[in-house]
């Protein structure tokens, strides 16, 4: 709320400068966001922009803020408004008021002011409104707004002559009932909207906006002033659904003092007589079907001390709470009984009062103490693994990306992720843009977008990884979220130092990175590399699935050339792992083997095979049919060329032999090796390359 400093000073005595006052307010929970020097009526003034918390509707007025300043600083309030008119309320009014929905409108007060002349407002009034960001209309409407700014009570003026029934009825609307508000827009109402009616005819959306037919105009001579208390939630629902937010609805949503309706009418009547020559009727129509009895709140000294963590003297507590307008209605040895003022609907519980005491005492008064912890914190395995994998990948030259989880429908179709069955993207109902319309099914969608940006910058090589969530909808239930670890490698590796021949990223490089992750998680034995279940966005001949027990846990591969073309990107490599599942299977505990007592002997063999032959077949076969003395087998070279002929390749394997009770002799090893080579020749129909 923007408020004039000079106006505030009409209600509270303070010799603080505007910035000092702003600082003090900020430190007491009424944050002043800016102090701007302005000028009012030739005198220097300042506009304070106060961020009033949503639970403090009572501070959305000059008087409310002045009251708060007095409580915070201990200053005196300068003057009170004329008290609610006991005298006048007894006299009869020309208008009758009937409230059909007392829960939504606990109080409706109305006053008729006659013989007005509609004119431009005096300069001072116009300036006050404009300082607070309200446009001046005419003297009548301006008075209602000025009183709202001053007291916090929204008022509405109806042109009395446009009312035919002269009977105000407060009821809810019929479904789909049309109504034209004074901004000229006709809106369709719902059964929950509260209406002010002239007999049968709706004339205002309660607490939100008046109707155009009964609006004050140049021809207006008499007005009916409305000053009511509406249910905050009802006003909010209507204003929100219709997207119709006004100064009035803003205040009603945040609670307006039900005791202040008549006082505000009288203040308005006085101002109208001053600036528009009007005469108020002696009688105020004040219909009040719902009056809540004041609530007694108990505040225990012990509770205050234990929650604050510091002792606050009873005397001080009483002084602070009284300054806020609370009435002490009972004192006992360990507790106080209090009643909150009618404008503080946020004070209903002991905790609310404890907050007020600590707030006014000042948070700085409470010492800072470290608690003695009884809690025993558990290690977080996932975090530990994440950190280890992250540092592994950084060491491999991959840079960590963090992308927004939003992507477009198009990108989600291209990169369907690791979901089983048909992927069902989660759409955002109110997205920021079409580029952000859905949650990503795969981390590869944003990573490809990252590559796009770097290719545009002519980067020679890019290697990124991301650890993050992907999302998919599961038959209308809550979407499923899965932690993925994905990466993208393109072009040259980033080499520092003298130029050396370093080949660009290849499938085997990326597979190597993934193998290292599997090794770290001790999953290399459990996961098989398969050529099945290859996604269509991958090159069918340069991609693999990672499978564990029939379940696909990841993929590695080169992007399909057509997909690369489609994305207008050069070819690149990707991997995506179901990190969540992998961490479930990851093993941290293991035992080491004791060291072998006798040396191993190694023999190589090169086999000439068809080009389509899979190197791993032999490794698997040797392991499965393990002969005594064979310790391990691995493939270490692949060769294609003239020496082996068209359509063929040569694969070189290294086999290590070892006995655990003696050093093997050459003759012994040769014999076993020969037997092995012979069985390979027979089983796989291959020949040995000489």
């Amino acid at each position: 709320m923007r408020v004039s400093f000079n106006w505030l000073k009409e209600f509270v005595e303070t010799d603080r400068s505007p910035t000092e006052l702003a600082e003090r307010l900020t430190m007491a929970g009424m944050e002043v966001e800016s102090v701007e020097a302005i000028e009012s009526d030739g005198a220097p003034d300042w506009a304070l922009d106060v961020a009033v918390p949503p639970n403090r509707g009572d501070c959305l007025s000059v008087i409310g803020l002045a009251r708060e300043i007095a409580a915070i600083t201990g200053a005196k309030t300068r003057r009170e408004l004329p008290k609610g008119g006991r005298k006048t309320a007894r006299a009869r009014s020309s208008v009758q008021v009937e409230i059909v929905e007392p829960a939504l409108c606990p109080r409706y007060s109305a006053l008729i002011v006659r013989d007005l002349s509609v004119e431009p407002p005096p300069a001072w009034m116009r300036r006050r409104l404009e300082t607070s960001g309200i446009r001046s209309i005419n003297n009548i409407v301006d008075v209602t707004n000025l009183v709202m700014l001053e007291t916090g009570q929204p008022l509405h003026a109806f042109d009395w002559d446009t009312l035919t029934a002269k009977r105000i009825v407060v009821r809810t609307a019929r479904a789909r009932q049309p109504f034209t508000t004074l901004d000229g827009v006709t809106r369709e109402l719902e059964g929950e909207d509260l209406l002010i009616c002239d007999g049968e005819r709706p004339i205002a959306l309660a607490g939100v906006m008046g109707g155009s037919e009964t609006e004050v105009s140049e021809r207006t001579r008499h007005v009916l002033l409305e000053s009511a208390h509406f249910d905050p939630l009802s006003v909010r629902r209507t204003a929100k659904r219709l997207g119709l937010h006004s100064e009035a609805s803003y205040r009603f949503e945040r609670f307006v003092d039900p005791e202040g309706t008549v006082r505000a009418l009288e203040r308005a009547a006085a101002l109208l007589s001053e600036v528009a020559g009007g005469k108020a009727e002696p009688g105020v129509a004040d219909c009040r079907p719902g009056r809540r009895p004041p609530q007694v709140i108990t505040l225990r000294d012990s509770r205050l001390e234990s929650l604050a963590g510091a002792k606050i003297e009873r005397e001080k507590t009483e002084r602070l709470l009284r300054a806020l307008g609370l009435k002490i209605v009972g004192r006992s040895k360990g507790a106080l009984k209090l009643i909150a003022p009618s404008y503080r609907n946020d004070l209903t519980r002991e905790a609310d009062l404890i907050e007020e005491v600590i707030r006014l005492a000042g948070y700085g008064e409470i010492p800072a103490e470290l608690p003695l912890a009884r809690h025993q914190a558990k290690r977080d395995r996932r975090l530990e693994w994440e950190r280890q994998v992250r540092s592994l990948l950084l060491g491999k030259g991959l840079t960590q990306a963090v992308n927004l989880v939003f992507t477009s429908a198009t990108m989600n179709r291209k990169f369907p992720g690791l979901w089983r069955g048909t992927p069902a993207p989660v759409a955002v109902l109110n997205p920021l843009s079409q580029e952000h319309a859905e949650l990503r099914l795969s981390l590869l969608a944003p990573l490809a977008a990252n590559l796009r940006a770097h290719v545009d910058q002519r980067a020679a090589g890019v290697s990124l990884f991301e650890i993050g969530k992907s999302f998919s909808r599961r038959c209308d239930e809550k979407p499923e979220e899965r932690l993925c670890l994905s990466g993208l490698c393109y072009g040259e590796k980033l080499i520092r130092g003298l130029r050396r021949a370093e080949p660009p990223w290849s499938f085997l490089d990326v597979k190597g990175v993934v193998e290292e992750i599997l090794e770290l998680l001790r999953l290399e034995q459990e996961i098989t590399w398969s050529e099945d279940q290859i996604d269509s966005f991958l090159h069918p001949g340069k991609a693999a699935s990672l499978v564990r027990g029939g379940r696909k846990l990841g993929l590695v591969g080169e992007i399909h050339p057509e997909m690369a073309e489609d994305l207008q990107l050069p070819r690149f490599f990707v991997f995506e792992l179901d990190f969540e599942a992998m961490l479930e299977y990851a093993r941290r505990d293991f035992t080491v083997h004791s060291l072998p007592r006798f040396p191993a002997v190694e023999r190589d063999v090169a086999l000439v095979v068809k080009d389509t032959f899979r190197a791993d077949q032999i490794v698997q076969w040797v392991r499965a049919n393990r002969q005594p003395l064979i310790e391990d087998v691995r493939v270490f070279d692949e060769y294609r060329g003239a020496q082996v002929g068209e359509g063929m390749k040569s694969l070189a394997y290294k086999i290590s032999y070892r006995a655990d009770n003696r050093t093997l002799t050459d003759a012994e090893v040769n014999e076993v090796h020969q037997r092995l080579v012979q069985s390979l020749i027979e089983n796989f129909a291959v020949r040995v390359r000489q």
Binding site: T26, M27, A28, G29, P53, P54, N55, R56, L233, L307, G309, A310, A351, I354, E355, R359, Y363, G364, I366, P367, A368, E369, P371, A373, R374, H375, A377, D380, L394, G395, K396, G397, L398, T399, Q400, V402, N403, L404, V405, F406, V426, V428, L429, L432, L439, N450, A453, Q457, S463, L464, F465, K478, P479, E481, K493, L494, R496, G497, L498, R500
Partner: protein, 346 residues
């Protein structure tokens, strides 16, 4: 004879000195001391010398022989040294050339700051908890005491995925999820991504928060101040000024906004040239944390007795801390993943 002996000595020494290689020195040794060497022959010739002169001449010859041996050995050693030095000299390289390496990848600044935050709280006994990014209205709002149709909901502009399901607007729902399933004492932090319908230089539709809370018997506002002051002085610097001021959050009461002294101007509100500080907008302070004592209503939602336990909760924006620590001015840089930006982090 005497003269010729001296002449011989001079001659040998001269040749040793000018010898260029080990082979040459061996050659000299053979030439003078070998079986047919000149000195050997002279020694053999002692037989022909009158017996009276023999001892004296023999001694001189032997001394000369010994002298030559030593000279050769010495020169051999010198030459070996010189040879070693020569090899080392030849092997010398230009150490000012850059080291060869594959460039290491770069960690993301959000991960770096997140790690720091987690580790500081870990040190105070907090453990990590997580929750779903797609939340229901109950955990994101209702159980945190944001009633339906309450203006407090305006504080957070929400992205929805269906009626009743939304992208969490803060990490606070993890608080509810943990308390629903566990009993005090609890000390938990919940790091994660959060979402708002917002996009500009200082707001991103996705950003990261770390939520934390502690619940036990007799947890007080003083403890909240103690824990957060310690945290802020660890993550910024030991002499960082910290202040707590009242604020409003539906799920805490009392609520506090925690400020630190500006990291740029040190709390002066102005920079060296007396211009208003742009980081703190001349106020000298920066909002860094929201916190408060957990509202009794929240305890009721999770079935705790607010008379038996109390607790505090806090939340902070990771990007905000990263921006202050690294002097980053545009939040969108975090999510563009531009190598020129990321390369600066190690």
């Amino acid at each position: 004879m005497k003269e010729s002996l001296e002449g011989l000595g001079e001659e040998v020494r001269g040749r040793i000195r000018s010898a260029r290689s080990e082979a040459e020195l061996q050659q000299i040794r053979v030439e003078y001391l070998g079986r047919k060497g000149r000195l050997t022959l002279l020694l053999r010739g002692l037989r022909d010398v009158p017996p009276g002169d023999r001892p004296q001449l023999g001694e001189r010859l032997n001394r000369l022989r010994q002298d030559i041996e030593e000279q050769i050995e010495l020169e051999l050693k010198r030459q070996k040294e010189r040879e070693k030095e020569r090899i080392l000299r030849e092997e010398r390289i230009d150490i000012t050339l850059p080291g060869s390496r594959l460039e290491r990848g770069h960690p993301h600044p959000i991960a770096l700051v997140m790690d720091e935050i987690i580790d500081i709280f870990w040190g105070m006994g907090f453990e990590v908890a997580r929750g779903p990014d797609v939340e229901d209205d109950y955990h994101n709002f209702e159980a945190l005491n944001f009633p339906k149709d309450h203006p407090a909901r305006d504080m957070q502009d929400t992205l929805f995925v269906s009626d009743g399901l939304l992208l969490r607007t803060h990490t606070s729902p993890v608080q509810i999820r943990v308390m629903e399933t566990r009993q005090p004492p609890l000390q938990v932090i919940a790091p994660g991504a959060v979402y708002r319908h917002d996009d500009d230089v200082t707001h991103s539709p996705m950003f990261h928060q770390v939520e934390g809370f502690m619940v036990d018997r007799h947890i007080s506002f003083a403890h909240l101040k103690g824990v957060l002051t310690h945290f802020l002085r660890q993550i910024f610097s030991a002499d960082t000024g910290v202040r707590f001021r009242p604020s409003f959050f539906p799920f805490t009461e009392p609520s506090a906004e925690v400020d630190i002294q500006c990291v740029l101007c040190g709390g002066r509100g102005a920079t060296g040239d007396d211009k208003p500080c742009r980081v703190c907008k001349a106020s000298g302070w920066l909002e860094i944390l929201g916190a408060g004592m957990i509202d009794p209503e929240v305890f009721r939602y999770v079935g705790y007795d607010p008379e038996a336990v109390s607790g505090f909760a806090f939340g902070m924006g990771v990007e905000r801390i990263a921006m202050l620590k690294f002097g980053i001015q545009d939040i969108r840089l975090f999510f563009q993943n531009d190598m020129r930006f990321l390369r600066q982090f190690r």
